[in-house]
Amino acid sequence: MVKPVGPTYSEEQRLFQARKFGLWIGIAGMLMVFTSLTSAYIVRKAAGNWLEFKLPDVFFYNALLVLASSLALQMAYRMFKQQKFGLYKGLLSLTWFMGLAFLIGQYAGWQQMNEMGIFLQGNPSGSFIFILSGLHALHLLVGLTVLSVALIHAFSLPDRLTEHRKFRFELTLIFWHFLTFLWVYLMALWMYLA
């Protein structure tokens, strides 16, 4: 017989755990969108009549940028836990601006593609890049909104480390890292298949 084991942490923590887990589940769902589009991309490419072109440079720089933003947010989280609130706010703001810069960069990348003669319409090889990067940008916009809420909290709430705020920060962190992963993954995919 399995001995019934009661939870060793508080009800609040239990609910936090559950919601964090829920976020991972949600991420799995989002990942499925990109997985299916990846498979569509690969299958469509294999079918021929596929226009090859060079990806805009800014996409590469953006990969570095978004990696750096993830690092900054991770540092912000660490500072928050160490109750160094000044650094925490600074790094959080830095992440926010890096996110914004990323979006602007993506837009510049799309412009660059248009200048090369690659448009949303036309050969699907270009359309796929627009769709995948566009969908990612849409997700990043959600991430930026989440970061904005985090920023508002950081500057409006008193400087205090609470379980609840730490938990919220962790959710933000997980989602932001996911967005970083996604862009690095997309770049790796395109470079591998090129």
Binding site: R19, G22, G29, M32, A40, I131
Partner: protein, 618 residues
């Protein structure tokens, strides 16, 4: 701690919970009134209580069930009585009935719209939202011993996204160009080119918007179901003590989470093709003699993305029904479910295999026949876990003193339907047989029996069984039995002949057969099917009346556990408030199927295993 004077009047179940239960200090969090149940709007409309959300899903699903059923009657009238005047439907259908010399005929375009919307709403709104949404919401927190879902707010949003999807779809029925008419699968180019048919314009746009809302609803619901089952089980409720209902809802939610995003991606590309001129699905198409400027797309790509959801979708529909049937059967047979673990493993392997068989819907779409072999093999392997489940249901009722009531009859009816429909699935899983049968009524008969009618039977079993839990009153038993027999006989009368005309080669999707002499001999069969469909529909109205009458006037529930069930949902007060249990959470001591054990009729899950008692399961 309660004082002894209070305990005297307490229900024995409450005493067990009091003694062994687990105190999560639930009501200590609330300051000044229950925010979930104060006021009409919070209680009945924007409710965050899972029991209310379950009822919202059920009633919305029922409304769609009636609408979808009525649509099928109209196109059945066309098929059964193509020569009769339909002028009498003019007040309802307006311009879709064309009157010539006093004879009304159904607009062929609208015939296709009816078929399309019938399929869409029954599959998604009734058998996904109405079935999974209702029972996952009602039973997951109650049967795992949780206060509510992990995120009651997302749970509420899940219903309201479904509601939004419903409103958009309903609105599309009234467009002057008609709702979408290209089939529930929405294959391009019919769905991708607004100029393809009158329903492909605004109708298709609204169809897409509606379905996107629906996908959001399913995902929000699914995230909650999975999270709640994995994280919020009460003390002692390990995975192997979960009732099979929870196992099936849990695995259903996982399938939904992995497959609905894929169709969303497919819809996303479709929207770009429709609105922004991309060519994902379109290739060298001529419309009215004009070549489109789209090149390089593949319509088969859409079919892959669609069926990657579409096939798991049929398990999203049938697995909850299977879980409900297992639970209802075991309870009314007064026997433990036969092969509990085998049931769980079967559900899991069906779920796994469901992702490997999608292209069996595409044998005639021009896929490589060698690839088809792969899909044939996996399709036929699904017969194994399915047969294990059927075997276990039969052995569960074998030798039992089965209580025949509306709920348990529908559970048996489910097994009957599942066997009948499953057998024809083995025919169709083989590409060699599917190619001649694919575009005939044989396919229509197959999927209606195995996932349409069977899932409805599971849903009815669940509604009759858990109605007292939902409303504190019983459905009328005699009307319930009448409903069962009418539906069972009616459904077979509708769909059995379809197998026959399908094997004779009568094609599906046709508006009428007057230019095909070969099929004129089936006019009589088609009449018979139509009449049977009308009668079967009338029997459903008996259920609807019974349902709404009983909410207010049904026989009141006097005891907490009317069926003598072991599971946790029957340990709450008859009218459970928010949080489900007024005091402590019940702790679970044993598995969910201790029926007829040690000379006792049943032993609830909250009762500790006795000294001299063997724990059957662990």
């Amino acid at each position: 701690m309660a004082t002894t004077t209070q305990e005297v009047s307490k229900h024995p179940v409450d005493l067990l919970i009091e003694e062994y239960g687990y105190d999560d200090h639930f009501h200590e969090h609330e300051h000044g009134g229950d925010k979930y149940q104060s006021g009409f709007i919070q209680k009945y409309i924007f409710s965050q209580d899972h029991k209310m959300i379950a009822r919202q899903f059920l009633i919305t699903g029922m409304i769609w069930g009636i609408l979808g059923g009525l649509m099928s009657l109209i196109f059945r009238l066309q098929l059964g009585f193509p020569e009769e005047s339909m002028a009498w439907l003019k007040p309802l259908l307006g311009k879709w009935i064309i009157i010539n010399d006093g004879v009304g005929t159904l607009d062929p375009e609208f015939y296709y719209a009816l078929v399309t919307i019938h399929g869409t709403v029954i599959v998604f709104f009734v058998l996904t939202a109405g079935l999974s949404g209702t029972f996952s919401n009602l039973l997951i927190p109650l049967q795992v011993g949780a206060r509510d879902m992990a995120s009651p707010f997302l749970n509420m949003l899940s219903y309201w996204f479904f509601f939004l999807a419903s409103v958009v779809m309903f609105f599309s029925l009234f467009l002057s160009t008609g709702p979408f008419a290209g089939g529930w699968v929405a294959y391009p180019p019919l769905s991708a080119l607004p100029q393809a048919s009158s329903g492909s314009g605004a109708g298709m746009t609204l169809w897409l918007i509606s379905l996107v809302f629906f996908v959001v609803s399913v995902l929000l619901g699914g995230i909650n179901y999975i999270t709640t089952v994995l994280n919020l089980r009460t003390k002692g409720m390990n995975m192997w003590r979960l009732p099979l209902t929870i196992w099936s809802f849990f695995i259903t939610a996982i399938i939904g989470l992995l497959s609905f995003p894929v169709v969303a991606a497919g819809f996303f590309l479709l929207m770009f093709d429709r609105m922004l001129g991309t060519s994902f699905y379109l290739n060298e198409i001529f419309i009215n003699g004009q070549a489109l400027d789209r090149v390089g797309g593949s319509p088969v790509l859409y079919q892959h993305l669609f069926w990657f959801l579409g096939h798991p979708e049929v398990y999203i529909i049938i697995l909850p029904a299977m879980g409900i049937v297992s639970e209802v059967m075991s309870t009314h047979a007064r026997k433990p479910i036969f092969g509990y673990k085998a049931m769980v493993y079967s559900i899991a392997s069906i779920a796994f295999l469901s992702f490997l068989v999608w292209a069996h819907h595409m044998y005639v779409a021009g896929i490589n026949p060698f690839i088809a072999n792969f899909f044939i093999v996996f399709t036929l392997i699904i017969a194994v876990p399915s047969a294990i489940k059927v075997f276990n249901w039969i052995t569960t009722i074998y030798g039992s003193s089965y209580r025949f009531n509306a709920a348990s009859l529908f559970a048996v009816g489910f097994v009957s339907m599942f066997i009948s429909g499953g057998l024809t699935g083995i025919f169709l899983g083989n590409a060699v047989l599917d190619i001649p049968l694919h575009d005939t009524y044989f396919v229509v008969a197959h999927f209606h029996v195995v996932m349409g009618v069977a899932a409805f039977f599971g849903m009815f079993a669940g509604i009759y069984h858990w109605y007292p839990k939902m409303y504190g009153r019983f459905l009328d038993e005699s009307l319930g039995k009448l409903h069962f027999w009418g539906t069972l006989i009616g459904a077979y009368a509708v769909f059995m002949p379809m197998h026959y005309i399908g094997m004779a080669g009568v094609p599906r999707r046709y508006y009428k057969f007057d230019s095909f002499d070969a099929f004129s001999q089936f006019a009589g069969v088609n009449k018979f099917i139509t009449i049977a469909a009308i009668i079967t529909f009338v029997f459903q109205l008996i259920f609807v009346i019974n349902f709404f009458y009983s909410i207010w006037k049904g026989r009141k529930m006097k005891t907490r556990n009317p069926w003598g069930s072991t599971t946790l949902e029957w340990t709450t007060p008859i009218h459970a408030g928010h949080g489900n249990w007024p005091g402590k959470l019940p702790a679970v001591q044993r598995w969910a199927y201790d029926y007829s054990k040690n000379g006792r009729d049943f032993i609830p899950q909250i009762e500790p295993v006795g000294e001299d008692e063997k724990d059957d399961f662990h």
